[in-house]
């Protein structure tokens, strides 16, 4: 027990250090530039050097606090949830490593440090998804997440190289300074950044890895696959926004990706029969909403929603973990009627679902309102995005709001109300279904409070606010009425239930292609490339054997070799000179 709290202690120390550093920046307007060792941007030759410089401004500070805060809560939660696991130590240490990498990604101004942190996060994600590596599902999910996010990493590496070649520095601030003097290659940089974001934040068409990452431990899902790592993609888009803000191509592509992903994710979330997977699709959809904010030229709204979403989605996943621990499964069919048995989980998750649906007065409402307002402002067409695109985006966002409210209500109803589908043979819940222990319920309460507390001081945009509230309430009401009439809320058309077969390229075609291609590569390697080393080896062996034979202990032969050698050396000496 002491041992387990030791890892919580490490995380707590990390959190306190970050808090001491970041909290004073929250209310500050100026930017703090922490230079360690070398000075800041000097416009020198672009060498891929790592610099320990850190830059922190209010948005960065908020995300840092979110990361270490959720990280600390997840560590506390894990002591109860996973504390008896034989590999708990590696689990807890990987979380700490992950947090350090996240701090590096968020805080640094050096693109190569960002890349290192980005890769370490991907590695931690891989390790933690595959934590239960006895299960083939977890192994497959981990491998898929790793491989798909590799595409994103490729985009990021290319983007970094192009930025370095274009602006002569690998420093984000330096590149922004150079860009403000003479913007160049905005479209190329923007599209490469978009590739990185699409992969890391699980956007269409690289979205399928996130739902498949769900076999990982639930606290990890809350930390990495809801609150922090997947959000880092959106953060990157916001951070580098200035470098590609001039390019309408990039913004339009980003808007299209966001529009497709947000509606698709919401619809997929509606049809799921598994609570955790539904929440995963919901994350995909919400990330698309943040990306939409970046696309319409308001990255601050995007990072604000990132923050609120990080809190309430971590709350929902941790609550999901409590429910899973109680009923032993994440399938919705095994839940129901948990309201009375698990009051803390019920009330905190209710707050989380309300925030997801965008209901007043949760933080989710206000930040979603900001995003919708930003999209609405972009419809006048002078913010880089064409008016028509912005209108389409707005409509899709409003439809998504309706679907989001509907699926949030559906999940809420199916989990906590009803007679309990997973009840025992006598129609009652088993006696072992009880409230989660304090170490798990405590973090839920903290996050629920934060869900409301974060709405303090948020701007309110009356028009979009009213509209989105009406739509969300309509969504909630529609589901509630249907549930009251005895519907099982199982409306799932076949294409949606199959997730539009979008996973098929990854699960079948690329696999088949890859198998063929890799076979060709192996053959090439064995038959063509290996000829040289093997030829060299056999040549060396042959000469070596010949030398062994020549070493005959026959003095006459030695003398002959000697004489011939002397003649040849004299010839070399005379001819060359």
């Amino acid at each position: 027990m002491i041992r387990r709290w030791g890892y919580v202690g490490i995380t707590a120390v990390l959190a306190v250090v970050v808090a001491i550093w970041a909290v004073p920046e929250l209310g500050r307007d100026t930017v703090t530039f922490v230079t360690i060792g070398q000075t800041g941007p000097d416009g020198g030759p672009p060498l891929p050097s790592l610099s320990p410089d850190l830059l922190i401004y209010p948005g960065t500070a908020q995300i840092l606090l979110l990361a270490v805060g959720v990280g600390l809560l997840v560590q506390i939660y894990s002591t109860a949830y996973l504390g008896h696991h034989p590999r708990y130590r590696s689990y807890a240490l990987v979380i700490v490593l992950f947090l350090i990498a996240m701090i590096a990604v968020v805080g640094t101004t050096n693109l190569w440090v960002l890349l290192v942190g980005w890769e370490v996060m991907g590695l931690c994600s891989y390790l933690l998804i595959g934590h239960e590596w006895e299960s083939p599902v977890a192994r497959a999910g981990a491998a898929k997440a790793f491989l798909v996010t590799r595409i994103a990493d490729l985009g990021l590496v290319m983007a970094i190289i192009v930025i370095g070649e274009t602006y002569g520095t690998y420093d984000i601030v330096g590149a922004q300074v150079a860009q403000s003097e003479q913007p160049r290659h905005a479209t190329l940089i923007g599209l490469l950044v978009l590739v990185a974001v699409v992969g890391k934040s699980a956007q269409f068409p690289l979205h399928t890895w996130l739902p498949d990452a769900m076999p990982g431990p639930t606290p990890i899902t809350a930390l990495i696959h809801a609150a922090t790592m997947v959000a880092a993609g959106v953060y990157l888009a916001a951070r580098l926004f200035q470098l590609y803000a001039d390019s309408q191509v990039v913004l339009t592509a980003m808007a299209v990706v966001a529009a497709i992903t947000m509606l698709m994710g919401a619809l997929f979330a509606w049809v799921q029969t598994d609570l955790k997977r539904a929440l995963a699709w919901s994350t995909v959809s919400q990330l698309a909403l943040m990306l939409a904010a970046v696309a319409v030229g308001d990255p601050e709204a995007g990072t604000d929603h990132l923050l609120a979403h990080g809190v309430f989605k971590a709350l929902l996943f941790l609550g999901c973990g409590c429910v899973m621990l109680a009923v032993g499964s994440s399938a919705l069919s095994s839940m129901g009627g948990l309201r009375r048995r698990m009051p803390v989980t019920f009330w905190t998750m209710t707050a989380g679902f309300a925030a997801l649906a965008g209901l007043v007065p949760t933080a989710g409402f206000f930040t979603k309102d900001s995003v919708l307002h930003a999209i609405e402002r972009a419809t006048d067409g002078d913010r880089g995005l064409a008016a028509g695109t912005a209108w389409v985006l707005l409509v899709v966002a409003l439809v998504t709001t309706f679907v989001t409210a509907a699926y949030a209500t559906r999940l809420w109803v199916l989990t906590f109300f009803g007679a309990g589908h997973g009840a025992g043979p006598h129609g009652t819940l088993g006696q072992d279904v009880r409230e989660a222990p304090l170490a798990m319920a405590g973090p839920l309460v903290v996050l629920a409070v934060a869900t409301f507390a974060l709405s303090v001081g948020q701007p309110l945009h009356l028009g979009t606010g009213l509209l989105s509230t009406v739509i969300a309430v309509a969504g909630v009401a529609a589901v509630l009425v249907a549930a009251r009439r005895g519907s099982t809320l199982a409306w799932a058309p076949r294409p949606l239930a199959a997730e539009l077969w979008l996973d098929r390229p990854f699960s079948r075609w690329i696999l088949a292609l890859g198998t063929g291609a890799s076979r060709v590569v192996v053959e090439l390697d064995r038959e063509v490339v290996d000829v040289y080393p093997r030829g060299g080896e056999s040549l060396a062996a042959t000469i070596s054997r010949g030398l062994g034979l020549a070493q005959s202990r026959n003095v006459q032969r030695y003398a002959t070799v000697l004489a011939v050698g002397v003649v040849m050396l004299v010839v070399i000496g005379v001819v060359v000179s």
């Binding site: 060396a540 062996a541 000469i543 070596s544 054997r545 030398l547 062994g548 020549a550 070493q551 202990r553 003095v555 032969r557 030695y558 003398a559 070799v561 000697l562 004489a563 011939v564 050698g565 002397v566 040849m568 050396l569 004299v570 070399i572 000496g573 005379v574 060359v576 000179s577």
Partner: protein, 465 residues
């Protein structure tokens, strides 16, 4: 007629030669003929020689080579105690011949005219040949000595031809005189080329460079292990020093003649040596071929002898090479004494079941290969490649790089064999003699030096010229 003697040069050699005579006389007059009876005077004489060398406060490449020669001889004399109780090996003659060869090595390095060089080379060669065949009743040893002798005679004859041609062209045999005469435009260029190449041949022979290498595996394999260590370390260091001084002091004007010859010989030597070592299944044979390859590495920077690193690079390389090689040979001598075999198959797992001898052997192999954690080996590999690159012999540097890889193939095979798991208990002599401890102590001191140098290479590099 009085011959002026420069005692700063001749001092250490004279002391060592007197020691050799004392050792012989003590052994002859001391009826029991124990190993220590002649070994102690020899050790004392080498120590006195070192003191004499240091007292004279000399500097430069000859001093460094002399120091390597004397320290190497000391190492060999102490480690040779492992042959105590070996009745076929007469101790007095052994020490006398060893010390004579050592004196010859000292004179070779500090020679300042070609006649002294040739005489000293004979003083180095003839005792070495006798040492190879010294073990009584050993037909293989006598046969090796015979091979060595014939090859040596042929190469000396060739060198004398070259020397006479040089004298005929320039009228002098002093290094300083040759240096001035060779820049004279009246001297016929092609004759100088032939003369220079023929003169260098004798030294290349002592160095064991291809195509004068054939005696090396036979001599090393046929003689006792410590004599092979002496030939590979002391004799080689001396002939490299002599070659370096001759080329730098007497023949810089003929660089066009010997430059390509040395470069080609270096490249071919390291390649042939490494290829030959690949298929050896005996540790001594492996080290014999590898010392041919190492001679190539020592020769390579000689092409840039007039450059900024021309003299220091071979000195530093040969110092580390000699130490590592002596550690390896001394360890193998102990192994041969205790286990009766130096075949690789019998050495398997030695780093585990005999770490006091196995780990020094691993360390020596890694140093010779230039592979971390033996950093000093890597550093000296860089040291010899640097002048070659700076002097624009890129092709030679590429050949050296390839040969470093080739060398890794068999050195690491040795390391893997030593570190592997032994199959069954190895045979170990049930009653090891006390005198083995002398040899063991030299091995441990030598490997401790290698470890210290690996941690702090500057200790060596900044103190050698």
């Amino acid at each position: 007629m009085t011959i002026p003697v420069d005692w700063t040069v001749a001092g250490p050699a004279t002391v060592v030669m007197i020691g050799a005579l004392v050792a012989l006389v003590v052994d002859a007059s001391y009826s029991r003929r124990t190993w220590l009876g002649s070994g102690l005077p020899a050790t004392a004489a080498v120590l006195a020689g070192i003191a004499e060398l240091l007292r004279e406060d000399a500097t430069g490449a000859p001093f460094a080579f002399s120091l390597v020669v004397l320290l190497g001889t000391l190492f060999v004399v102490v480690a040779s105690n492992v042959m105590n109780f070996e009745n076929a090996m007469p101790p007095g003659e052994y020490h006398f011949l060893l010390m004579s060869a050592s004196a010859g090595a000292l004179v070779v390095v500090s020679a300042r005219d070609v006649v002294t060089l040739v005489v000293a080379l004979e003083l180095l060669s003839l005792p070495s040949i006798a040492l190879v065949g010294l073990r009584q009743g050993d037909r293989a040893a006598i046969r090796s000595a015979w091979t060595f002798f014939l090859a040596s005679v042929v190469s000396t004859a060739i060198t004398l031809m070259g020397v006479s041609l040089l004298y005929g062209v320039t009228g002098t045999l002093e290094y300083a005189g040759l240096r001035e005469a060779l820049v004279d435009p009246d001297v016929p260029g092609s004759v100088v080329s032939v003369a220079v190449v023929l003169t260098v041949v004798g030294l290349l022979f002592k160095l064991g460079a291809v195509p004068f290498h054939a005696w090396v595996p036979d001599a090393y394999g046929g003689t006792s292990v410590m004599v092979a260590g002496f030939l590979s370390a002391v004799s080689k260091a001396a002939s490299l020093g002599a070659l370096l001084v001759l080329l730098a002091e007497a023949l810089p004007g003929a660089h066009d003649a010997w430059g390509p010859v040395v470069a080609v010989v270096a490249a071919v030597t390291m390649t042939i040596g490494n290829l030959g070592a690949l298929r050896q299944d005996d540790a001594v044979g492996l080290l014999a071929w590898s010392s041919i390859a190492q001679a190539g590495f020592m020769l390579a920077p000689v092409v840039a002898v007039s450059g900024p690193y021309g003299l220091s690079a071979p000195v530093q390389y040969v110092a580390v090479y000699a130490l590592a090689n002596l550690v390896a040979f001394a360890a193998l001598a102990v192994v041969l004494r205790l286990r009766g075999s130096t075949r690789l198959a019998d050495l398997r797992g030695m780093a585990r079941n005999d770490p006091w001898m196995g780990i020094p052997l691993v360390l020596a192999a890694l140093t010779l290969a230039g592979f971390p954690p033996a950093v000093i080996g890597l550093v000296t590999k860089v040291v010899v490649i640097r002048p070659v690159v700076l002097d624009d012999h890129v092709w030679l540097a590429v050949v050296m790089g390839v040969n470093v890889m080739l060398g890794l193939a068999y050195y690491l095979r040795l390391v893997v064999t030593l570190c592997g798991r032994a199959e069954g208990e190895p045979y170990v002599s049930p009653s090891p003699p006390i005198s083995v401890r002398f040899a063991k102590s030299t091995v441990l001191i030598g490997s401790a030096t290698l470890v210290v140098l690996s941690a702090w290479p500057d200790l060596l590099l900044s103190h050698l010229p």
